[in-house]
């Protein structure tokens, strides 16, 4: 009876609702902001100092364990890059399991296990927790740090570093941190080939033994586990972990410049400029300005409806996207406003950036902007709570930053309470538009002068070092003299012209495969042949002779046009400098440039049909150290050795848009003036 009555009442209500004329022209209003129910973390501490947080969430039969070390940032000095290796070295095998065994055992239970220099993470279904904890503990207590794993990581790291030297994003990151923090600060030091090569297994072991201590560690357990069970399993696996003294470090706080300065890295091949306008910000989670700083950034450049995006992309069309960020950090945070813009509009874009920063600080934000920013951030805050790891992070932050217990539970209420005046004050407190490091990575010759209006322009290398003072000390230098010097540096004209032909074989490695490049030069008769093979298969070959040329790849042969042939010829000579004059090439000296730290004369070579390339000759040694070719890429020459009285570079580092990683090729066999037949070129 009751049921029928209820359903009657219900249907009556419904009828009323549907008969009422629904005004669809009005959007439904938001309901009252929901209360954020953040599962409170329970905590306990082991005798060895390990602090444990348990966030029970039994929605799914899963559980995760995140172990975090809280140590001061490290200055790694001549071993910069060390901490980047620790995590993978820890999971590369233990005294009980090889790396393969470890991987198989993790896969077998459908679990995950990973580590970094300050953490170990493991997760699995509830029923496999004992196994995954056993594996995690094995990694924590018994890592063996195999040498071959270090060699592999080092190789990957060096490959990555090599390609990052030409990556404008990576160059920009190095430039900003070097300017903002200086190289003697943990956040400003930079990994180089040298520091990466300095890292040994003993260093990693030493790091592990120093810092993997329970007294500086937190363990967050999230998922299907309550405190009582957590106490039991944590004791079982982590109580025997020995505490120890861990060193602490302090650093000077980086300062803002008195007045804005410009930092520029000249990357002459750039068609875009990466602009990043930065300054250090003292801001950490829990600071009075922290939550309001999120709103300030959202309005300025947090998304695709923020001021920077609307101005630089939607209104001006300078860029695909312009954004800003204000990061927080225990040591030092940073403000950044950035975009990649077309070379021609570099200065106009910087003007707009500074205009927006000034407008923010001087005129503040509007009520409407603030409301939109609040909804936007509240939405993403709410969505982030779905992931149990967010809750664990909140618990960890509450401890690490000594936050009030209800900091995250009342986060949205706090955020909603900010007024336009509060936001304007935060903007003024955190951002000083006239004390910025304005950094740019782009075509220096086109943008350097235009950037001078924003502050003193300081030049840097692609590794973030101040670029060496690059001035022509010898004003009487000409392109012809550079070439003369080069010829005498390699052994003199007589010895050089005695080399009329050469057979060269080079080897390199690309993504684990060996690659062989065979080249045959016949400078006197203008004949040239080149073959590139991977694992014995010819991938690509080029033949030039009798005034004609062809390129073959994947079984397909293409004849060169006359223009292509003329352009190809520029790179088809073994000692081209001897022939520039005869071939009617125009040479221009374009000053002294920094080539990976070496000052070098840049000579631009143009053939009669207008094709261009550039050679760089070391000011000091006179030797050719780089060839720059828009189509074929850059070649760096190293390791000059004397052959037949002439210095020949035995190492060629080839960077080309056609290959994913730089090719470090070495000459494995070299025959000078060999007997050549036509077949050699095919």
């Amino acid at each position: 009876m009751k049921k029928i009555a209820i359903s009657f009442v219900l249907s009556f209500l419904i009828a009323v609702v549907s008969f009422a004329q629904l005004d669809r022209s009005q959007f439904p209003k938001s309901g009252p902001a929901p209360e954020i129910k953040i599962g409170e973390a329970e905590t306990f501490t082991l005798d060895n100092g390990l602090k444990v947080f348990v966030v029970k969430n039994d929605k799914l039969p899963r559980v995760s364990f995140t172990l975090v070390l809280e140590r001061d940032p490290l200055l790694e000095g001549d071993k910069a890059g060390l901490t980047g290796f620790v995590g993978e070295m820890m999971t590369a095998g233990t005294t009980n399991r090889t790396k393969d065994q470890l991987d198989e055992e993790v896969d077998f239970i459908g679990a995950s296990l990973s580590a970094s220099s300050t953490s170990i993470f493991a997760s699995s279904l509830k029923k496999h927790q004992a196994k995954v904890l056993e594996l995690m503990a094995d990694v924590l207590y018994n890592p063996v740090f195999p040498q071959e794993e270090l060699d592999k990581l080092r190789k990957q790291s060096l490959t990555g570093l090599a390609s990052s030297k030409d990556d404008p994003g990576a160059i920009s990151a190095r430039l900003t941190s070097a300017m903002m923090y200086g190289k003697d600060h943990p956040y400003g030091e930079i990994e180089t080939e040298e520091t990466i090569n300095n890292i040994t297994v003993a260093d990693i072991k030493n790091y592990y033994e120093t810092f993997f201590k329970p007294n500086i560690a937190y363990l967050a357990i999230v998922g299907d586990m309550d405190k009582a069970e957590a106490e039991k399993v944590v004791k079982e696996y982590f109580a025997s972990w020995e505490p120890g003294d861990v060193p602490t470090f302090t650093y000077e706080t980086p300062k803002r410049p008195e007045t804005s300065v410009v930092g520029l890295v000249d990357r002459s091949s750039s068609v875009q400029t990466n602009i990043n306008i930065v300054q250090p910000v003292e801001l950490k989670i829990g600071d009075e300005d922290y939550i309001s700083s999120r709103l300030v950034n959202q309005i300025l450049g947090g998304g695709s409806s923020s001021r920077l995006f609307m101005n630089l992309r939607e209104d001006k069309g300078y860029t695909y996207g312009a954004y800003s960020s204000i990061s927080s950090d225990k040591l030092i945070g940073q403000f950044s406003a950035n975009a990649a813009v077309r070379t021609e509009v570099t200065d106009s874009a910087v003007v707009q950036f500074i205009y927006e920063l000034d407008r923010l600080v001087k005129s503040g934000v509007t009520e409407e902007e603030l409301e939109k920013a609040k909804s936007n951030l509240a939405g993403s805050f709410g969505r982030s709570l779905e992931s149990p790891s967010t809750i664990a992070n909140f618990a960890l932050n509450t401890e690490r930053y000594n936050l009030p217990k209800d900091y995250y539970a009342t986060y949205l209420q706090k955020m909603n309470s900010y007024t336009v005046e509060d936001i304007n004050k935060t903007a003024v407190d955190l951002i000083q538009p006239d004390k910025m490091y304005i950094t740019a990575v782009g075509n220096g010759s086109e943008i350097k002068d235009k950037l001078a209006q924003f502050g003193e322009v300081k030049m840097f290398t692609n590794m973030g070092d101040p670029a060496k003072e690059i001035q022509m000390t010898d004003a009487s230098m000409t392109a012809e003299k550079v070439i003369e010097n080069y010829i005498s540096a390699i052994g003199g004209e007589d010895a050089a012209s005695a080399i009329k032909s050469a057979k060269v074989s080079m080897a390199a490695e690309i993504m684990g495969n060996s690659l062989v490049i065979d080249m045959v030069f016949d400078d006197q008769n203008l004949r040239y042949g080149q073959k590139t093979s991977v694992m014995g298969n010819v991938m690509q070959s080029t033949t030039m002779m009798d005034g004609k040329g062809s390129i073959s790849a994947q079984g397909q042969t293409i004849e060169m046009s006359d223009e292509q042939y003329e352009e190809g010829k520029m790179s088809a000579l073994f000692l081209p400098e001897l022939y520039y004059e005869d071939l009617g090439y125009t040479l221009t000296l374009d000053g002294v440039k920094d080539v990976e730290g070496t000052p070098a004369y840049k000579v631009i070579i143009v053939n009669p049909s207008g094709a261009k390339m550039a050679n760089y000759y070391s000011v000091e040694s006179g030797l050719k150290i780089k060839n720059e070719n828009e189509k074929a890429g850059d070649t760096f020459y190293k390791d000059y050795q004397e052959k037949n009285g002439v210095l020949i570079p035995m190492g060629w580092m080839i960077k080309s848009p056609a290959i994913p990683v730089p090719l470090d090729a070495k000459i494995t066999s070299l025959e000078l003036n060999p007997d050549l037949t036509e077949a050699d070129f095919k």
Binding site: L13, I14, V17, S18, L22, R24, S25, F27, P28, K29, S30, G31, P32, A33, P34, E35, I36, K37, G39, N57, K59, L60, P61, R62, D103, E104, D107, F108, I109, G110, A111, S124, L125, H128, S305, K372, S375, N376, L377, A378, G379, S380, G382, R383, L385, E386, I510, M511, G512, N513, V534, M535, G536, N537, M539, A553, Q554, G555, Q556
Partner: protein, 442 residues
Amino acid sequence: MRKFIVLGIMAGILSLPVMAQKKIEFKEFNLDNGLHVIMHQDQSTPIVVTSVLYHVGSKNENPERTGFAHFFEHLMFEGSENIERGQYMNIIQGRGGTLNAYTSNDITYYYESLPSNELELALYMESERMLHSKVDETGVETQREVVKEERRQRYENQPYGTILPETLKRAYSEHPYQWAPIGSMEHLNAASIEEFQQFYKDFYVPNNATLTIAGDIDYKQTEDWVRKYFSEIPMGKKEIYRPNVKEPKKTEEIRDVIYDNIQIPAVIQAYNLPPKTDADSYALSMLSTYLTGGASSLMTKELVDKQQKALVVAAIPLELEDGGIFIMYSIANMGVEPKDLETEIDKLIKQVQEEGLSDQDFTKLKNIMENNIVSSNSSMAGIAENLAEAHAIYGDANYINKVMDAYSKVTKEDIQRVAKEYLDLNGRVVLYYLPKAQQPAQ
């Protein structure tokens, strides 16, 4: 005695389902206009996911007008009588939400995730879309351009981007699965505005839709709002067109070469599958994981790590309502001939067909599947989608709670059996993707 007890306990353990799933609770109701509504309450996070599944995909299209279903996915963001053109996304984002949509051969799915106090807005927005979305010349023109860009970016400009359309074209001779959701640009260009409006009237009707709401909701309030906004939407007048075509079994291999803008050759093999709801689907899905799921899977370990013949190898069961395809693709390592790679793949398939898999591998496989199924219901968005699909495709929203059980019934022998039955070398499609440079002159 002791032995008996131990045995008894063991048997007890074994008789329980090996995999256990936490039950997902939900409530359902229908409106008079045929709209089916599923609600799932989860108050742990103050968000709500609202989704509408329209049971229309590329298979419901007129063969002369392919690409319509996907085109509508775009058109439905144009706005409605009360939502200004181009404002649909801005309104949702301005209230702190995110939104998206996708189209398959079988369904079109729209969803938005918002703070839970914005549920009424989400229902209003979806009801506007269902009641009177803008289907006009301006919208059609705008979206034609956008779809053209999408086609360029995702198919034409993307290396190997045409694998799906090229494979479907050959895997089906009768069934409308022979064209991919992206369809034909010519068809879209040729279509009149009346045709678009007719498609909307035919398929975007409440009796062809499933509305799912999952998150921090009050069941009663949610039902009231659903009735408020959706009750006035009229039911579709026609019967929904659903193709009734049985794809004949292939008895001969179809083999072809596609020249694409790529550097490295790829080998594609496709085998026809039973309908998605068939009991063998579970074993086939496990078979694909056994072959290529993860670094320690059979083919990845053998072909990528050991022999280094492939850069990547993947087996994906594209499960469809009327029977999809088991599609395997692999990209050759440098200098490896496609034929050579194909021979090695076939060897491994033969190995599974003849020898089956080890107990160790089978247990590992079960563990991985269990983890995957548990994780698929870890977010509100995942639960909403799984509930909607359970209702629309499996005819029972509670199917969401039966998936684990279905997988736990699969035996080692089943996997070997489906490998033999469905991965039939004589009824498959094989495509070689080769660099355009290798195309013989015409």
